[in-house]
Symmetry: C2
Subunit: 178 residues, 2 copies
Amino acid sequence: MAIDLFARQGFDETTVEDIAQAAGMTKRSFFRYFPTKEDAVFEGIDLTGESVVADIAARPADEGPWECLHQVLRAWQEEIHASEQALATIRLIEATPALAGRLHQRRTEWRRRVSNALQDRPGASLDPYTADLLTNAATAVLDAVSSQWARSDGNADRPALLDQGFYQVHVDLNSRQE
Amino acid sequence: MAIDLFARQGFDETTVEDIAQAAGMTKRSFFRYFPTKEDAVFEGIDLTGESVVADIAARPADEGPWECLHQVLRAWQEEIHASEQALATIRLIEATPALAGRLHQRRTEWRRRVSNALQDRPGASLDPYTADLLTNAATAVLDAVSSQWARSDGNADRPALLDQGFYQVHVDLNSRQE
DNA sequence: TTCGATGTGTCACCTGGCGACATGATAGTC
DNA sequence: GACTATCATGTCGCCAGGTGACACATCGAA
């Protein structure tokens, strides 16, 4: 709904009242559904990654954390970006700094939880710094995948890109350099 | 100046008029110095990385891109975070989503330029995706360093953390998995 | 029917941010 | 020393995002 308006006339140029009116409600009501104008863009997309944390805990304990992230994120983003509007949404986000910022805010929350989930895996003995490195590196891959996917006008194979990214980037666990 | 106020009473609780008044100017004048309220926090910090791009071009051509990033960022962040207020600033940013978002916006610009600079290095034949992976992975390390440094109350050795991060994370250049 | 919960509209308000214009200081020229 | 262009700043008014308080309606349970 709101995304159509944003895509047509731009994010900043679309007021909350416009969106609300188009949806047959009041500005005040809009803010009862969405905490901010930005969040209307992420409507229906699970960015907090409830499932991700659970999935991490469910992976076999003898799997390395990097591979674990790889498998979980592969499943997760396939599910997320099955949407029709994915390309338009990504383009919109890339073109709108405020949206990129908001996405990052959500991701920050998400990363904290993922980082903790990694540390909590049975048998894992990760220090917080390494857990952050792993988590941040994973989002680095995710971001690169999104960019490349948008660059290809949505034609690239997202899972393949993700796999490639996870193969090209690795994270060592031993914190001592040899 | 503004950071003191933010640190004392919180970012949202400090209005632009407060800051302006404390600085002996008008609200309107404040916005002539800073494009947004957030930017007052980053006062004096070079986030656009003018120097980084130049430094990348100046590194020896036979150096791998990951090592190149490592060396350049090592120098860069030593310069940046020599400031007294660095810890307070990082804490403030971590506690204020809006600031984290704004920082990320700046970083996005920065990453685009760094990614291009990597591709433009003499002798480098990086595809855009790999260049993005390298750049994003580097910021992943930077972010983890900042978090860890804040976690240690500013006692950790930032350059050492950066080195460790760059050793633990690597990025392969060959895009084919073997 | 009555009651309470839930959803929505209305109104008023604060704040960040911008555009337009006025004013004052400052520096440079004749 | 008077004149003027320039720049910084103040003043005013406006828009839009976001919140709190309150009223009203609808609907299901008792």
